[in-house]
Symmetry: C2
Subunit: 326 residues, 2 copies
């Protein structure tokens, strides 16, 4: 018998990274490669309907370039009810109880799935990034805040109300600084971008002389000092910058230790803006966690940087859509 | 057609709770009820072979009382390689790399499964205790140390090297007191029985007058003050006792908050010796976590005391055996 060589049409899905400042819509193939990418500012002030119009427009443009997609995956920062794609709360967009999936369905003829942005990133890194072929991993993104996603035994953990993986709100310093969530000493209140910024400004207020280089790097005003400024100052050898980075490193080690002892992953994938500015921290976290976490939990542990970087969101949202509808 | 009423023989399994001081072996039926129970001191000093002989003897006695069991489940404090039932490390028994499952197999004709003690307790509470019919729960046992077990999406999390759920070693105070594991500020180093004992003795050393009632309750010597003494002193209105209990409560709230935000369980089951001595803490933890954890994670949360208490170990080990071999 002669084997027939089947010709497959190239399957693809739309991945949408819906952020507070920009909407990115990409055509992603079944290997997780971004084939096309379109971007627009997010019309936050104009509300969900305006956001919907932008997404519909961009998806239609992609569809013109290729055949029909298998589906549309959307990642956004917020709490999602996955059963109906209801956005319960999305602080960046200022949305409360927006039935975004059914809104979109009226204008798009392809199936739609909505997920939390860090959950999307986790799908991306798991299926096509640093976590390929790994069935026990934790994705930790240290940006303005800290978000996480957990794959355990080959499944993404969702929890009782779909909020599992809020690793930025594990307490790592029970009497520590106030967090935006109302608690104290949350992981992100010590090591997230907003916390680094606050620690820097507080330190400058206490000792303006020590903050001279930070202020200079920020363009002259202490109010413009950010986590990025802190990283730049540290790299330039500034003492306050170095101290703040060292403090952040210790907090990151404590937080990742909690994660490693609680979940026992084979792999921790680290990404996000703070670590992009301070990539040297990844090795430092790796070494620190090996000292601090249980030997039984670190014996089989790898710590790796995100492979997909800024693409993880669209790649992951598309991969989820492909997995759900493919 | 007439329905035939089938007569089932009553299925049962052996549950073994192998501790550092006693071995408990029970006949447990398919509903998780303990039908018979035998106990012996653990011959720790005589090594694995002596322990094996005790277990074999007790299992044979049970088998005389009933038909053959479906299997034998064993829970012990330590790190287990489940693929071959190898005990990698069991501190209470002072065992390193003991192939206990294959040792036992030579003397017992029924299949054997070995698991970590808190994992066994989690099986028990999940299948037959406070967590029945719940597919997202965390069991937290506050004894001398703090151990945990996690059911997420209807499966017990095992992790990469079978140590998932070491919740007692999540960092909750990154500059806090040293833990027995070598890290600092672990959950159990602030709220476990050994930590409460240490805090009490340290407080007495600093201020012996404040410790008068604790010393009296302990029988005259500060060295005999334990977590139990602290609970008794607090219940008698002693100020130092009350302060130590309040401090423990705050640590428990922080630790359970981490667990709730990380895993988003529907149910947290709390048990263990410390909470048996201070049952009023369960409501306090419940209220405190609702203030401190993310609203999205607590909206669907229940906090309940363990239902099986001291039976959870044997019931869970037997339930695991029944699930594995039934």
């Amino acid at each position: 018998m002669k084997k027939m060589k089947m010709k497959h049409t190239d399957h693809w899905a739309v991945g949408v990274d819906l952020g507070g400042t920009k909407i990115e819509v990409a055509r992603v193939d079944s290997a997780g490669r971004v084939q096309e990418r379109l971007r627009r500012p997010t019309p936050v002030k104009e509300g969900p309907n305006a956001v919907k119009k932008v997404i519909v427009d961009l998806v239609r443009r992609l569809r013109k370039l290729a055949g029909p997609p298998l589906g549309v995956g959307i990642g956004l920062a917020g709490q999602i009810d996955p059963s109906e794609g209801l956005v319960i709360f999305a602080p960046n967009l200022n949305w409360h109880d927006v039935p975004f999936q059914s809104d979109l369905k009226q204008s798009l003829e392809w199936p739609i799935v909505i997920t939390n942005d860090v959950r999307a990133v986790t799908w991306g890194e798991w299926l096509h990034g640093a976590g390929k072929d790994c069935n026990d991993l934790v994705c930790l993104f240290i940006g303005t805040g800290i978000g996480g996603g957990v794959v355990s035994g080959g499944r993404i953990l969702t929890g009782c109300s779909n909020t599992a993986g809020e690793l930025g709100h594990m307490t790592i310093d029970l009497n520590g600084p106030l967090c935006t969530c109302g608690s104290r000493g949350c992981f992100e209140a010590l090591a997230g971008g907003w916390a680094i910024e606050k620690m820097a400004r507080d330190a400058i207020a206490l000792d303006p002389v020590a903050g001279v280089q930070l202020i200079k790097l920020a363009g002259g005003s202490p109010r413009d000092v950010t986590a990025k400024t802190v990283a730049e100052a540290a790299h330039a050898g500034d003492l306050l910058g170095l101290r703040l980075v060292e403090q952040t490193a210790q907090s990151l080690i404590a937080g990742v230790t909690s994660v490693v002892n609680a979940f026992n992953p084979c792999l921790v994938i680290l990404g996000g803006g703070v670590l992009e500015g301070l990539p040297e921290l990844i090795d430092q976290i790796d070494m620190g966690v090996r000292k601090r976490a249980l030997p039984a939990a670190t014996a089989s542990l790898q710590v790796l940087p995100s492979k997909l970087g800024n693409d993880a969101g669209v790649v992951g949202a598309a991969a989820l859509a492909m997995k759900t509808f493919g």
